[in-house]
Symmetry: C2
Subunit: 336 residues, 2 copies
DNA sequence: TTGAAAGCGCTAACAA
DNA sequence: TTGTTAGCGCTTTCAA
C-alpha cells in the first residue's frame, strides 16, 4: 500500500503538498498539483482513511438504529436520511437492534469510542436516562420514538392526535364498538395511540370497554393472534378494528378472514403507519400516513446540526401526518 | 477526553501497562491491573478506537450490502451473519445499495480506504470484473447472487434446480400452461430460475410458449403489473403461475383477485424465497425456501477466513433448498 | 507556494 | 512484570 510519503517522493514534493492536493488543492500550483495527481495515479494511491480519521477525530459516518430490519416502514425514512447525508458527504450505516437494549448500547458505545459521529435511533429500547446521558455528550437524534419528557433532539408525529382522528373517522362511519389492537404498552408511542383511542371515545361520551383492547406484538403474527382471541371471546361484539400499526391490522384481517368474516363488509379495519404493503394488500388498508421521507430528512438535518456543534432551538419537532382512507374501512354509513 | 496517558499517570504506571490491561491483561500483576482499572473508572476512560484502528490497521467491522432495505428476505440472513460475527467480536453494518452499482462502489471503496475489513454483498450490481478485482485484493463474499464463472467466494443455492423442481411440482398437479414471472433478466439468478422453468418443460417434451413469460421488477408491484398484462392478453390461457420471487407472486395473486379470479381454485400460484409474508398472506404461498440463516452463517464464516488470510478451498458453496407447499398451489390433480 | 516538523492515541518490540 | 520508545499515515501550524 503506497502512503502519502511514496506519492510525495514520486512527485518530488513534500507530503504537505500532497495532503493539500487532497484537501481541495488550495495554495498549490496547477503544475505541482498535476505532478502529484500523476504520482497518485501511477502508484494507485488511496489515502488511508483510518489515518485521516485518527488525525481529524471525525469519521463522517453516522449510524441509524432500527428495531427491525425487514420492516419496510424504515426503508422510506432511510431514503430521506441518505438524501441529506449524501450532499453533506456523510455515509450512513444501518444497525439492527432487534429492539434489544444491549444491542443498542453497543451502538452507543461507538460514539464514545469515536467510531461514528452520530446516531439516529428509531429503537430507543434503552432506559431514558441512559439515552439522555449519551445525547448530552454526543450527537443523537431520536426519531418516531420518544419519552415522556423530551430532553433530547426528537422528530415525530402527534401519535395521540392521529390515533384519535382515526378512531373518530370510524365513529363517524357509525361504529360504536371498536376493537383496539394496542401494541406493546411499554413503548410510549403505542400508549399515546391508545390514549387517542380513549380520547375519541370519551369526547363522544362513549363508555370504554377494556375487553375491546388487546396488547399485542406489533407484527402480522401479533395482530393475527390478538384478533383470534377477540373473535373467540364469547359475547365480545365489535364492528370495527383499529390497530396501532399496519402489520397488526394486516394480521387482524387475516384472522377475520380465516373465521369467515369479510373486511370491510362485516368488520371495518384501520391501521397506522402506511407501510408499503398496506396499499398492495387486499383489501387496501385505511391507515395513518407518517411523513416518512420527511422524518428522515429532518432527523439527519438535526443530527448534522448537532455534529456541527449547534444546539437545537427546541428539542421536539412534530411533523404532520395524514389519514389515508382505503378499502378496509368500508363506506361511510354514519353521521358526522 | 482522557487518553491512555492520563490513565497511566493516574495509576502511576506506564502507558504500555495500561494498554496491556486492555489487551487482556497478560503479564500484568493483579494489583497493578486493579490500579489501572480504578484509574480508568475514575477518569471514565474509553480507548479511542480510531487510534486503535489506525495503529492495528484493522477495524473489526464488516459490511453487508443488500439491494433493498425493507425486504424481509435479508433480515433472516442477517441474523445468521450477526450470530457468527458476534462470537468473533466483529460488528456488522448494513448498507443499502438500492441495487445501484455506484452505491455499491462507494462501499467497496471503503475496503481500499480501510474503513471496513470485509464485505458480504447480496447486491452484485457492479460489473463482474470490478467485483472480482476487489475480491482478489480484499475479503469479499458474494451471497445469493453470483456470476457465470465464479472466481470469488460465493454462497448460494442451486436456483435452476429449485425452479425446475417447483415447475415440475406444478406439472405434476396437472398444469400444462404455466405462466412464468421471470424477474430482471440482467440478474443471473433470475436467468437461472428461468432456465429451470424451461428445463422442466423440455424434459416433459412440452412446447415453450414465450408469451407465457413476463420479465418484471422483482416486487409486489412488478408482479401485479405483469399479471395484469398476462390476464389482459387476448387468447393467453394458463392455469398456473410460477413467479421467480415471492413478492412477485403476491403481486400476481392481488392482480388475479382484482380480476375476479380465485387462487388456487382458478389459478395456482407459486413463488420463490419464502419471505416472511408468504406464510402470513392469504392464501399462504407455495414457495422455495432458501436456507436463510445458514446462508448468513456460511457467508460470514467464509469472510472471516478471508480476513484471516486463508484462501477458500473452493469458491462456490451451494446450500440445500426446500420446496414449501402451501395453499396457493391448490390440490394435487394430475399424475406423477 | 512550499516544506519541515509536531503530534493525534495507541500497540508492540525491545530492554531492563 | 514493567517501562521506554518507535512509529502507524495523516493534517496542520509555522516558517521560509
Amino acid at each position: 500500500m503506497p502512503t502519502i510519503r511514496d506519492v510525495a517522493h514520486e512527485a518530488g514534493v513534500s507530503i504537505a503538498t500532497v495532503s493539500r492536493v487532497f484537501q481541495g488543492g488550495a495554495n498549490v500550483l496547477p503544475e505541482t498539483r498535476e505532478r502529484v495527481l500523476q504520482a497518485v495515479e501511477h502508484l494507485n494511491y488511496h489515502p488511508n482513511s483510518l489515518a485521516q480519521q485518527f488525525r481529524t477525530q471525525e469519521t463522517r459516518r453516522v449510524m441509524v438504529i432500527i428495531p427491525e430490519l425487514g420492516n419496510s416502514f424504515y426503508a422510506d425514512i432511510f431514503t430521506g436520511i441518505v438524501s441529506v447525508a449524501k450532499v453533506n458527504n456523510y455515509t450512513v450505516f444501518i444497525y439492527d437492534s432487534h429492539g434489544q437494549a444491549s444491542s443498542e448500547a453497543h451502538c452507543f458505545d461507538m460514539l464514545s469510542s469515536k467510531n461514528i459521529d452520530g446516531i439516529i435511533t428509531f429503537s430507543a429500547s434503552m432506559p431514558q436516562e441512559e439515552i439522555e446521558r449519551y445525547a448530552s455528550q454526543y450527537p443523537v437524534v431520536v426519531a418516531c420514538r420518544y419519552f415522556d419528557e423530551i430532553r433530547l433532539p426528537n422528530v415525530t408525529i402527534d401519535n395521540a392526535k392521529a390515533s384519535k382522528d382515526m378512531v373518530n373517522y370510524m365513529l363517524n362511519l357509525g361504529h360504536r364498538r371498536i376493537c383496539y389492537l394496542a401494541g406493546p404498552s411499554d413503548i410510549l408511542l403505542y400508549r399515546d395511540r391508545m390514549q387517542g383511542y380513549l380520547a375519541a371515545l370519551s369526547e363522544r361520551g362513549l363508555a370504554f370497554d377494556p375487553r375491546l383492547v388487546f396488547n399485542c406484538d406489533p407484527s402480522i403474527q401479533g395482530g393475527y393472534d390478538a384478533m383470534n382471541s377477540a373473535i373467540n371471546s364469547a359475547d365480545l361484539k365489535f364492528s370495527a378494528v383499529v390497530a396501532s400499526g399496519d402489520t397488526m391490522a394486516i394480521g387482524a384481517i387475516r384472522a377475520l378472514r380465516s373465521q369467515g368474516l369479510k373486511v370491510p363488509k362485516d368488520i371495518a379495519v384501520a391501521g397506522f403507519d402506511d407501510i408499503e404493503l398496506s396499499a398492495l394488500f387486499s383489501p387496501t388498508l385505511t391507515t395513518v400516513r407518517q411523513p416518512k421521507q420527511q422524518i428522515g430528512v429532518r432527523s439527519m438535518e438535526k443530527l448534522l446540526d448537532l455534529i456541527a456543534g449547534k444546539k437545537p432551538a427546541q428539542y421536539r419537532e412534530v411533523l404532520p401526518y395524514e389519514l389515508v382512507i382505503r378499502e378496509s374501512s368500508g363506506n361511510f354509513v354514519g353521521t358526522l
